[in-house]
Symmetry: C2
Subunit: 490 residues, 2 copies
Amino acid sequence: MRDLRTRLSRITDLNHAAALLEWDQETYMPSGAAESRARQVATLRSLAHELLTADETVTLLEFAVPDSDIDADLIRVVKKDVTKATKVPSSLIAEMAEAAGLSKGAWQKARQTNDFDIFAPHLSKIVELAVRHAEALGYDETPYDALLDQYEEGMTTSQVQSVFSGLKDELVPIVKTIAEATPLSDSIVHGHFPKESQWKFGLDVAQQMGYDLNHGRQDVSTHPFSTAFSITDVRITTRIDPEFFNPGFFGTLHEAGHALYEQGIDPGLEGSPLADGTSLGMHESQSRLWENLIGRNRPFWQHYYPQAQEVFPAAFGGVDFESFFRSINAVAPSPIRVEADEVTYNLHIMLRFELEQDMIAGRIATKDLPREWNDRMEAWLGIRPENDAEGVLQDIHWSLGAIGYFPTYALGNLMSVQLFNAASDALPNLDQMTSEGRFEELLSWLRLNVHQWGRRRSADEILLDATGSGLSAEPWLNYVRKKFGDLYDF
Amino acid sequence: MRDLRTRLSRITDLNHAAALLEWDQETYMPSGAAESRARQVATLRSLAHELLTADETVTLLEFAVPDSDIDADLIRVVKKDVTKATKVPSSLIAEMAEAAGLSKGAWQKARQTNDFDIFAPHLSKIVELAVRHAEALGYDETPYDALLDQYEEGMTTSQVQSVFSGLKDELVPIVKTIAEATPLSDSIVHGHFPKESQWKFGLDVAQQMGYDLNHGRQDVSTHPFSTAFSITDVRITTRIDPEFFNPGFFGTLHEAGHALYEQGIDPGLEGSPLADGTSLGMHESQSRLWENLIGRNRPFWQHYYPQAQEVFPAAFGGVDFESFFRSINAVAPSPIRVEADEVTYNLHIMLRFELEQDMIAGRIATKDLPREWNDRMEAWLGIRPENDAEGVLQDIHWSLGAIGYFPTYALGNLMSVQLFNAASDALPNLDQMTSEGRFEELLSWLRLNVHQWGRRRSADEILLDATGSGLSAEPWLNYVRKKFGDLYDF
């Protein structure tokens, strides 16, 4: 067992070193170092993969005698990792890496010049490789199962379909109703917000949520993200727009939510492959819980709005609470996913989920994708992208070969409400505490029920234990109906 | 050959990733992550060591057929690396790492409390391990040869002894003469120097020297250093004292000098173990050349002093050139090595070199070290440390197990003058160019003669080819006699 632990700790160290190389690339790396950095990341990831799939690892796993429950979980989880990692031939991994490398550049160019044809042949290749990848990984019902399982272990396509289809049927009419209601103005959050003040205000709130800067830090990057190099080193990045309050502030809360998850993992798992989020959906549930369920709710701003008014007197000084609160909760269908509000966001995801399945099943040819995209966008959200740059070309994911990733965003939204409701039941004065800027009890509840487990429990198990039920869209729909029914009078 | 190259490139990538982990530790890492970071660095260094000494590497080296001169050099240099790395049993490496880990903490405490007894048993252990290390590595004449060779390949103890003894005999009287002369005041460089202005001024000059920020960057750290993750990513750090001009400015020039060396390595060596400085002495010659031979000479300040007066009007506005120039060149024996001026610095090194040999040979017992230190300090520099914190406990090196390292500082000083003289011969209007802030031709000369080679040529070979002679103290002594004879009238 000790040899196994040592070996797995070395693999984890390699992956975390690769993560630091990537963090550095997005934050401080000089621009001329991109090529050598790409080689270094590839080397470390390959070495980690080789060590994981080596005969010695397999033998150690076979003969390991667990000393504890953690050991037993470690053996179980890593056996699965090894099985998956062994199934895909390294020639296919290399082919996918090469295709992604070429495709990313083509996508960037296609998006800049608004010319889908530049990206189309690459996307066809990516889809073809994804199908082969799925065949190599194996699946029960449909190749898409294998792709989804990479990001949301144990979740099947049919499960997601059944949850999403109910959601879509309910959500499209809600969006339509809101579109026809008197719109809420969001002009208040557009104005002058000095960068340093935004930086400090966001980070102060993140710390009050419980984000620990002795074991984390915040830096600037073009695309915000969170990353962990150990349980004791969990970092976030933020992008600040001096003319727009939302991206900096809610982005910080979102990334801090991710970071709180990783900082809350049982220290006994440090250095092991169990010290990670259990799935992307569960990870997203934590970022969304803090960003939206806390950060966009009324009690939160009862505490923080007076502070925000002091920090941003020019923008908020003369604005009453209700106008501000409506401004951060305005719903307006937009063609762009990353700019979407709480209500419409899931429709963006479901659109991608459907199209991904259609592409993998060969039901949609690449060349027809832009039209399909725009048609569904119009049917669901009532708007038609003016061009492919704000349509099918807007996201980087497919160009990197990540098919099966998008659904986890919506799963995270749904889980965030299920978990928040369970926390509210367990902590009857949660709103009261939130309105006083006190988050210790909520964080403790999340640590106990979600964070501490790392990968020892699956997302399904965590959800069931914490909420008493499996994944469901109903709680999220009820939350939306209540919150936005109040705001939009329906 | 291709398999060998790939394998060596992976080893290099691992070492460079470890270097990034270390850089991050000194610049941005949150304080609570020290323990996991130490484990990660150790993992990557061990993996690199294992890959280097693996049978497969040995076989590849044995059967490699070089396609080029670079390949031939690669095989030759790496064979030596493997031989050395294989000689030391991993049990001894582990023992040394453990001793260093314990010793560093003891040294810190000893230094803080000014109590040598806390450090003494650890130092005894370090010395004992260094002897065993030397025995494992093997040597011709004396165990110290093996220790020195780790940092200055090919240099022997007797070579260094012969160069240093001549140097000491000449230098001690010079220091005495200067100590008895009318002192130069350095009060001018003590004053108010705003941090941001220092930062920008130092970095501007470094860039004008040729330091390329597309392939480098500057950050803050407690102890300044330079480090490279590839030829295209060579970074420096700086520490700025708002009340003292020298550490920030000359520290930046020093580190930029190191960085220019690594940025100037032949791009064809990228990713290979040849893409590194050839020895610590040669590396130090580059930092010292820019810091002292250029950065403390008269033509340099003819160009930059007017700029410095504009940047620091409060401190330099009313100060004439000559007073400033004397202020940055004032000689004053100090007990502290890192605060030493150009003239006395080498005596600090020679003191350590002698004591190291005495310890390794068992001629000095650890308990007698403080007295020996203070006695020689008094004899050579005319001052006696008031306590061990500013005496034998001042440097971190021994606590880390680095014995044989110190001499390279003085070797760098000597080489810097030899190389500068050769460059001056080749570029008759070097002073003129310096006085115009133009360094392209000097940098080109250094790249051609020193930088480009990486580890393809030894320090000895570079010195011989570039200057026509081997290591010698005479040029340095002549430089000191001339420059400080002028300043101190002797």
